[in-house]
Symmetry: C2
Amino acid sequence: MAGDDVKKSDANASGGVKRKEVKKETGLGLTNCKDDNFGEWYSEVVVNGELIEYYDISGCYILRPWAMSIWETMQKFFDVEIKKMNIQNCYFPLFVSPGVLQKEKDHVEGFAPEVAWVTKTGDSDLEVPIAIRPTSETVMYPYYSKWIRGHRDLPLKLNQWCNVVRWEFSNPTPFIRSREFLWQEGHTAFATKEEADAEIGVMVMVHGDDKGLVLPPKVATVQVIIIPVPYKDADTRGIFDACASAVDILSGAGIRAKADFRDNYSPGWKYSHWEMKGVPLRIEIGPKDLANSQVRVVRRDNSLKIDISRTNLVEHVKEMLNNIQHNLFDVAKQKRDACVKTIRTWDEFVEALSQKKLILAPWCDEEEVEKGVKARTKGEMGAAKSLCSPFDQPELPEGTKCFASGKPAKKWTYWGRSY
Amino acid sequence: MAGDDVKKSDANASGGVKRKEVKKETGLGLTNCKDDNFGEWYSEVVVNGELIEYYDISGCYILRPWAMSIWETMQKFFDVEIKKMNIQNCYFPLFVSPGVLQKEKDHVEGFAPEVAWVTKTGDSDLEVPIAIRPTSETVMYPYYSKWIRGHRDLPLKLNQWCNVVRWEFSNPTPFIRSREFLWQEGHTAFATKEEADAEIGVMVMVHGDDKGLVLPPKVATVQVIIIPVPYKDADTRGIFDACASAVDILSGAGIRAKADFRDNYSPGWKYSHWEMKGVPLRIEIGPKDLANSQVRVVRRDNSLKIDISRTNLVEHVKEMLNNIQHNLFDVAKQKRDACVKTIRTWDEFVEALSQKKLILAPWCDEEEVEKGVKARTKGEMGAAKSLCSPFDQPELPEGTKCFASGKPAKKWTYWGRSY
């Protein structure tokens, strides 16, 4: 077990499962299908799409620029929202003394088997081992009480962006279950958005297809990739110039566009490469396009090809990017909605749970009742727990009862099994 | 030694040194003078100015919002510059396997005594201990060689913003010498800007005075603090409204302004509080100001008081903030320039070193020669090393010789003792 921690990762290794042939034309392509071997498809997509690189410590992953820029986009957006709520950023140390960690025993109990301990520095043993934070609220609260001298200092709303470590022993998965991960944690007036890091993983899983990643335009590092398609005897120089000028025009309008001028890869190879990396729009410019003052645009989400005039390039591209963004959202929402089951009684709850549904239920909002739900559903599949309450609450008519306790319901909440 | 690591910090403790009286009026104020007890003055300023809080693990510090927002300002500015240079951000894991760490022995040698080792997770011992990164280049380079498949993949310019750990045993000092610190590291085409984290510390030391912090307007979280000064029988409501409206007007113009409406502190207490925290400009509004449609503005850097009409508030405040920014820079530059000594020979070098000068010298730019300089100056005070080469190089006439080797000089470089 522990001996496995430092080893070459066996990502992409697989037993005798069905595999596709890698495309001859490009040397790229995926060997696993999303529907047949989901887990291996996922590993392959995140590596071949250049989001991560496996690392020599199992459960730790290198976030390559393609992933990092998505994280930065999400972080920038969310940080602005955090500041709007008058929450201030701070930074607490990576290390936690055992006393502080054990002070809130109940809270930390779940993490205890996953805590990494520093016991040595240089050649010296520490007299008291020091823990690496699995989360920071137990660390932060003692200082809150020091800084809050009276009611006028309330509310004290702090947030930090940091790395945390949980030495999980179950199957590690990039973005979804890794031993070190980046996140933000807001305490106390602000609920921890624990899912932030997993969002990239979920995005890959929901939108990805058998060609690789599919990135929503809003988070894509490159929104438009422009590929010159020269032919023998064609005006190669003119084609390259047209590509460069398209980059300038689109960039000038705030669109993240880039041309792939590499001369050691064919256009076909480049198509596959940028499809694998999930770029929302591809623009091809060949001799015919040059002659007609047009470009060919290919959508990553549905492979639609369309020729558009260079005259209104910016407007067309903006519209298509918007369209892709909404399309991805709508398709994902439909899929999600198909998995949601609204229930009102315990029996309906149990049945929906067995169907692996995401369950929306009226709840009395009492902690003891949630504990009861957990206890009653404990089994092979993982106990059920509350996930979140929708911002836009459905109507809750007077007299609606909690599905679990029968007490008056206070709000609608999503429930599901913890994985 | 190691037993000291988990203990209550003894910050602000002091032997029989000269102390000032804390101001009766405010209960604030510093007990140490910058000129008399520099080290204790520094500890006191960073805590009372609410930049940091001491932590129960020695050498680790909590960065409070006041420090964090300065860090964020610097980070945002620098991150934009990094991206302009086509350097991409990435994130490598916190943990390093011992094999990788030892691969570049020469490089890591200096860090070895300072490396923190994880040997336990939960209750289990790891078979192979895992190091916490003291820096990441040894980790990153093996992957560079994997990602670079040909010359067309060059240059590969990556950067990461992260935390690193060096378990220093010499006297820890917030921002200057801490065991965990935040930084950015760019490899390979980009020189590591190791000083980034220390800049806050140096800023405090250079600009701070006996009233506390003095923040340059560009990095100040709050640039203008507005304090109502009500009197008995005065139009308190009118004064408060005037303050709120001034905040609106200044904020609307992009100035970071805030009013302190707390009713449990006197105006005098608030003056000291915000002086301690280094806010560049204070605006006071009392009955007389209200009557004359003016405000009183007080500069933090030189205590100048001036009454200005509310009509041109934004213009006046902008001009004063600019003025403060330049004034702080000029004063600091003068102080620095007074410490710089330009030399040309080894004898001049040794003399300037003994005077603790920052030394500007013509150099042949050879690593071996720098090693020689280090060896020849090793002593109680710390060996001399090259610090950086100024972007704006002074003229280097043909025939100028290296101060240390006598070979032809290639550039001007700053030298000093390593602390």
